[in-house]
Amino acid sequence: MATTTVPKVMKQGKLTPWLYLLPALLVMGVFIVYPMINTISLSFLNADGTASASTTCVRGRPCWGLFENYRYALTAELDLTSFSSTWKSFWSSSYGNNIKWIIIMVTGTVGIGLGFAVLADRVKYEALAKSIIFMPMAISFVGAGVIWKFVYDFGTKQVQIGLLNAIIHNLGGKPVAWLSTPQLNTFALVAVGIWIWTGFCMTILSAALKAVPDEVIEAARVDGANEWHIFWSVMVPIISPTIIVVITTMVINVLKLFDIVYVMTGGNYGTEVIANRMYNEMYKSFNTGRGTAIAVVLVLAIIPFIYMNIRRFLAQEAAR
């Protein structure tokens, strides 16, 4: 399909492309492909990689033989006694949390990003406003962890150093334990994620909006459409390919998300997400087998979204 893009005028040695590709292939092979294969093979072994995973099975408990680590990765957080208990425990598992993260964070970043891009387009201080929204992208997670501690800190009377609880306290309310109340804490962490990533979505969406031809909008306006209608029925459909890319990119980001949870709660109080669970199994419980199995599950979960992105790209190439 795509060979058409290459100019035919130039003769080309068989080796030439590979010379250009060599550095990248070498580095990626060593740093990504090799560890990945290593990981996959370790996921079938026991904790320290010395024997098959099936040796870790406990008599009288469920066992998946060679796939024992995968049993652990998929079901250890679940209470499988009944359908409702499974359902309930799923939503407090790392998988459930990741799904919550995806839903809230993608909606939040794309929603706020798009809304802000539309609104900021109408004011004179657009550049400054967008810079401020984007600024958290330049801050490390370590820094963000420190920053948000002073927002979420749980204090009473004398010792009150968290901004949110100080506001609640002044309004006469009871302090809220943002980071240690199960369910609520995941939302509190997602808020940090939205704070960091909205700038990314906003920037891309804003550029896409600016690329919408004036004539189209003008035509709609002449037809008597109101602004709301123009936004939803004219602009959104035009920029929808961009929105989809932004969404899939964010989904991939959220699935791989590790740092916010690592820095702020370490996965405590039911805030664990898949990448943190993998890290904790590997480096806190020192169970490499289980940790790598979780890693493989994570990779499998991301693949469809990467596939979507790549397929869209190829389709675009073909259409060109």
């Binding site: 893009t5 290459v6 100019p7 068989k14 030439t16 492309p17 590979w18 590709l21 550095p23 990248a24 990626m28 060593v30 740093f31 990504i32 090799y34 560890p35 990945m36 290593n38 990981t39 609104l119 387009d121 109408r122 004011v123 401020i132 929204i133 984007f134 600024m135 992208m137 330049a138 801050i139 490390s140 370590v142 820094g143 420190v146 920053i147 004398q158 010792v159 009150q160 150093i161 100080a166 704070w195 920037t203 891309i204 896409a208 004036d214 909008i217 003008e218 602004e227 920029i239 390919p241 961009t242 890319v245 991939i252 740092d259 993998m278 991301i302 790549i310 790209f313 190829l314 060109r320």
Partner: protein, 394 residues
């Protein structure tokens, strides 16, 4: 702009309100960090950063309950001069002050008709008296946290104080060489730069090569290979630390800058290749055809045509990769650790293992944000332009 001119009529107040409200939400957390980082530790530990903007603790309560007799400045009664430290010293806290206020003076209640203050109010007054009498000299704001963080001071006073009294620790010399003390943020800043610059340059270079090949050279399996390489974005880097570390150990690379450069290059490449291929592929084909007709080789086309034209994409990638590497903790922690501490690593070491020393942590965190902010604000134009090439072409 074109768009906004059309929409002038609805460019109204609600828009401004929503924008400014959002901006406040976005900027307040960072502002909190900045204000915290210039406060002395006792204040950080006990009161919120926003109090730095308010009147001293207890001033209002003092004025209501005491000022009528003792005067605004506390000097009105010579027998009970509240600016005299020797008098105030006897009533350091609410317990002692309340006891005093309960006693009668010349057969009259101390406070006359005014009811006894509650514990909280009494404590506030005691705190304010300490300020009046200069017993409490802690400044509201200080730059000491920054100085201490930069030189890597870890004592219980401040660097300036210890150097004055000659009690500084062994690794500090109290001269300019302390700016690069291995425990300080100054040195960490240099290390972060050494890590970041090559780790930004290398993946862009390699991606430019690969992107050129994918866009303008013909070979079998071109698209499949491209899809696979870009697809490697799925691999979370946390899972590669042990195998890579093992390999580095055999090569003797652990603890070297090369180790970090190569690792970041590997993980930066999938996205970089994607973006470079996308951008280079978007250049007009006629340009290349013309160049080839003029007798240019692929190499000439690459260096003279592709690279100069791809500068926006390169700038954008550069910023992205720069921010990513600069802000990374995990990779630097595992492969460099404390032998060549970078900023993100050193931030955590400002506090003890039990979390004492928040004042240094906040200052260090803010210091680590400075360069990325400067880079970002200075180059954001390129950044956005390049990012577009990656995401919304076509």
């Amino acid at each position: 702009m074109r768009w906004s001119s059309i929409n002038k009529k609805i460019n109204n107040v609600p828009t401004h309100i929503i924008i400014i409200f959002t901006l406040i939400i976005w900027i307040v957390p960072t502002l909190g960090l900045l204000l915290t980082s210039i406060r002395p530790l006792p204040a950080i530990n006990t009161t919120g950063w926003w109090t730095v903007l308010s009147a001293p603790r207890g001033m209002k309560t003092y004025e209501q309950a005491c000022a009528s007799c003792h005067g605004q400045d506390g000097k009105l009664l010579t027998a009970a001069d509240l600016t005299n430290p020797d008098i105030v010293k006897k009533y350091p806290r609410s317990t002692q002050l309340t006891a005093l206020l309960q006693k009668e003076i010349n057969g009259q209640p101390h406070l006359g008709m005014t009811p006894l203050p509650e514990a909280q109010e009494s404590a506030d007054i005691a705190a304010y008296m300490k300020r009046l009498s200069n017993l409490d000299k802690t400044p509201k704001i200080t730059l000491n946290n920054y100085v201490d963080a930069i030189v890597g001071y870890r004592g219980t006073q401040t660097y300036t104080e210890d150097c004055k009294t000659g009690k500084q620790s062994l690794d500090l010399k109290c001269n300019l060489s302390d700016l690069v003390n291995p425990r300080g943020m100054g040195r960490a800043f240099l290390n972060s730069l050494i890590v970041t610059l090559p780790a930004t340059f290398l993946p862009i270079l390699f991606a430019a090569f690969a992107g050129f090949a994918f866009a303008w050279l013909d070979f079998k399996g071109r698209f499949l290979l491209f899809a696979v390489l870009v697809g490697l974005q799925v691999v979370p880097l946390q899972m590669t630390l042990v195998p890579i570390s093992r390999m580095y150990a055999q090569l003797g690379l652990n603890g070297t800058f090369i180790a970090v450069w190569l690792f970041h290059t590997g993980f930066g490449l999938p996205y970089a290749i994607y973006l470079m291929r996308n951008f280079l592929g978007g250049l007009p084909r006629e340009l290349f055809e013309a160049a080839y007709l003029d007798g240019a080789s692929h190499w000439t086309a690459f260096t003279r045509l592709a690279i100069p034209l791809a500068l926006p994409a390169i700038a954008s990638l550069g910023i992205f990769q720069f921010l990513w590497v600069w802000n990374d903790l995990l990779v630097a922690l595992v492969f460099l650790g404390g032998s060549k501490p970078v900023m993100t690593y050193q931030i955590g070491n400002m506090v003890t293992s039990l979390g004492a020393g928040w004042q240094l942590l906040t200052a260090a965190a803010f210091l680590s944000m400075l360069l990325p902010m400067v880079v970002f604000f200075a180059l954001q134009r390129y950044f956005i332009r390049g990012m577009m090439a990656g995401a919304v072409k076509g």
